[in-house]
Every structure is written in C-alpha cells, then in structure tokens.
C-alpha cells in the first residue's frame, strides 16, 4: 500500500516473526525488539499513530507482504539479492553475524558451519531463513539440514539431539542460550566465509513492491534516527555489539541487492 493510503487509514500493519531480539511479542501482547522499537519511532515521526502488530512465521513474511496482509515487516530480515526481486528493503537498520546453538558442554565440539560439510551431524535451520543459503554455499548436503518452523522449537531440537546444532544469527543464539541451561552458544565460533568474505547480514524493514513511497519515507526518518543516541541505545539494549552498529553503516541496500 502507498504512504497516502496508510495515512488515510491512520493505521499501519507491521509484521514480526516472533524472533527475540529482532522483533517479537511479549506476554502482554506488546511488540518488542530492534525492528519494532525503531518502527514505532519512525511511525510517530511520519504521523501514523496506530500500529496493528501481526505475528507470523518467518517463512510467511514475504508472502504476506505480497498478499497485502501487512504493510511492512519489522523483523530485521537480511537484505539478500533474491529477496530484493520479491520485495523492497529499507536501508539497513542493523547488522549481525552468525552463531551456532549447541547442547550444553558442546558434546560434538562444533565451532563452525563448515563442520557439517564432512561430519554426519545434523544442523537445524528455520524455514525461510537465510542460513539455508549460507549452508548451501558452504556445501552442506540438504539431507543434513533439519527445518524447524519456529525459533521456539530450537532449544528442544538441540537439547534433545534431534539436531546437533541450530544455525542462526549470533543474537538469536545468545538469546536462546540465555533461556535454557540445556543449551549454549558455541564458543570460539568461526564466522562462515562465503564468497571470500565472512558472512554478515544487514537487517532492514521490508515492503511490498508497490510501496516505494512508503519505503522512501521510512528511509528518510531512519537515516535521521540512526544519527541519534536513541538508536545506538536501542541497539545495545537488545544485545547488538558496537561492531554490529558500525557495520550497519558500511553497506547500502543497493550494494547488497546487487551482490551475489
């Protein structure tokens, strides 16, 4: 939907995928996370005062945008060239590296995505998440990947041995690790190297193809906000490192969409 439509309606529909700390609903039904917090600020600036939050599976975010089930996604979805063909991205709002969730004590001694290329251990990924592309690029055979529908399933998947590890972003991993003492973040994690550079993702807001003006308006406000102390505080509040914050300025969406 265009910016005018949304302003006329006075309500914007924003989707999250229930991933802590990127975008999630807490028990009281309040939207939280890096995406929602920044989105709330921007909507305020744009004069849109009502936000309808929608929770959906990660895999349904892009189809939902295309089906006009919501106007915007605030899930810190990584900007990837093939996604750029389907939807519009704002400029990066964050940046994050990869991580690996393993069982307590790391019994299989796993420290890198590359471990799964040779060994017979299975690695879990979330349906629709970009870890699939990374693992594929590294040459991990498909039968060694277990697809789960939800971040929430990761702890039990790993702690019960249904998969040896869960490949996700470093923030997701440390968040999950903090919730249960049956799992931990793999220590001395080696960033996967794809196409000659360590894999790093740039998260952004996502829009449908016909919402260019809305995206541009968000971009303008985002650029302003990223220069403030408020943005940096939000980053660190949700566990992003200073490096993550710096990196988020180093690439533009245009560059990221053109790569690969």
């Amino acid at each position: 939907a265009g910016l005018d439509d949304i302003k006329k309606r006075g309500t914007v529909r924003i989707a999250v995928a229930n991933e802590i700390p990127y975008g999630y609903m807490d028990m009281d039904g309040q939207a939280k996370g890096m995406g929602p917090d920044v989105a709330k600020h921007i909507m305020e600036q744009l004069g849109i005062h009502r936000i309808e939050w929608i929770t959906t599976n990660f895999g349904s975010l892009i189809p939902g945008l295309r089906a006009n089930r919501f106007d915007m996604v605030a899930a810190e979805m990584a900007i990837l060239p093939q996604r750029c063909k389907e939807v519009l991205f704002s400029e990066p709002n964050s940046s994050y590296g990869e991580g690996l969730l393993v069982a307590k004590g790391n019994p299989h001694d796993l420290h890198a995505y590359e471990s799964f290329v040779q060994s017979d251990k299975k690695v879990a990924i979330m349906a629709g998440a970009d870890q699939l592309e990374i693992l594929q690029a590294l040459g991990v055979p498909p039968e060694r990947m277990v697809t789960i529908a939800n971040n929430a399933d990761a702890i039990s998947t790993v702690s019960t041995g249904r998969a040896a590890a869960y490949a996700a972003t470093s923030l997701t991993v440390s968040e999950l690790a903090s919730k249960s003492d049956k799992v931990e973040a793999a220590a001395q994690f080696k960033d996967p190297v794809v196409g000659g550079a360590p894999a790093r993702s740039w998260g952004a807001f996502t829009f449908s193809q016909d919402s260019a003006d809305f995206r541009d308006a968000v971009n303008a406000e985002l650029a302003k906000f990223k220069r403030t102390e408020g943005w940096a505080k939000t980053m660190s509040h949700y566990g992003f490192s200073p490096t993550d914050a710096e990196e988020s300025f180093n690439k533009t969406t245009e560059q990221l969409c053109a790569a690969g």
Binding site: M25, M27, P63, A67, A152, S156
Partner: protein, 223 residues
Amino acid sequence: MNWSSYMPPLLEGAWVTVQLTVYSTILGAACAFAFGMGKVSGSRLARGVSVAFIEVFRGTSLLVQLFWLYFALPLLGQAVGVDLRLPPVVAGTLALALNIGAYGAEVVRGAIQAVPPAQHEAAKALDFTPRQILWRIALPQAIPEMMPSFGNLAIQNLKDTALVSLISLGDLAFRAEQIRNFTQDSVTIYTLLLFMYFGMALALTALMKLLESSVGRWRAGRS
C-alpha cells in the same frame, strides 16, 4: 512464571477459538444443507455441483485447503486480476466451514435418504406434491436424525480450529505457542492447552445434546 500468569492470554485465545468454532459451524451447516439437499435434488446441475463440492472438500486434507486459501488463492487472484487476498480470519473460517460443510452435506443427504420410503409413499397416497413431501414430511423427520452426527462434526470443527494457528490467527493454540516462545515451559502450557480444549469440547457436547433433544421432542415416546 506459574500457570496462572498464562491464563489471561490463553483465555483471550480461547475466546477467538470459540468465535471461530461458532461462525464456521453455522456457515458449515448452511453449506451442509445446501449441498446435501443439492445431492438429492432432481436437477442434474445441482447434483453435479454438490458431488464435486463434497468430493473436493472431503477428499483433500483440511490443512491443504487452509494453506491453499491462504497462500495460493491470492496468487490465482493476481493471475486473473481479482483481489482474492483473504485476511486470516476469513480464510480460516472459510476453510473450516467448507470442510465441515462437505462432511455435513453427506450427513444431510444420508438423513434425508434415511427417511423411510414408506413415508414418501404415504404422503404421495395423500396427494402431496414432491416439494411438499420434501419440506413437510422428509426434512422435519431428517433433522433430528442428523443431530448426533452434527454434534460429532461440531467437536471435530472445534479441534480443527487449532490448525488456523498455522496461518497466524490468534486462537488458543497460537497464543500458547507464543507463550512457549517466551517461556519454553512446554509441560505446563501444553497440559493447560489440552485441558482447555477438552473443557470446551465438553461444553459443546452438552450444548449439542440440548439442541438435539429440543428438535426431536416428538421422538420422546419412541421405544
């Protein structure tokens, strides 16, 4: 966290589940009568349409229907230039109603056909028209016959509403998943969830029994 703190969101979800069940059961009953009577009607077209409807919605899995309505239908709409993007509530209610309606149509058909041929003959001997026989003799006798099966279908429908959580509708199952995402307290949440569905099913059963006895009062003296 203890279980009592889960209750407010779960009750909210349960309310959504109740609404979904009620709306889709009512809509489903309408489908059931339309297509069930269509299947026994004299018109070949009505019969064909009814048979096709019943076979398609009984023959494919409910979850496939739900996903199809939610994910595939918008693309079909795009291809033909119509906006068929259904909001989750509509897609969910529709999928449940169509599915339960197809099963219900067979119940309606069965009950109408179970009215003894002798009743049709007696009515014909009294010179009623075929239309009068259907509306005055066959249907009033068939409806109490349908009630037990409708009761079972309503319970089935209540259970099936859990599937709409998979298209992000905030029903009971969905809210439970949300809480688990937060707390990872699977044991408490799923146990609560099972008993809440059980309780709703018991209430629904009691309601259907009440309805059943009120539509079939003339059968009371039957041995």
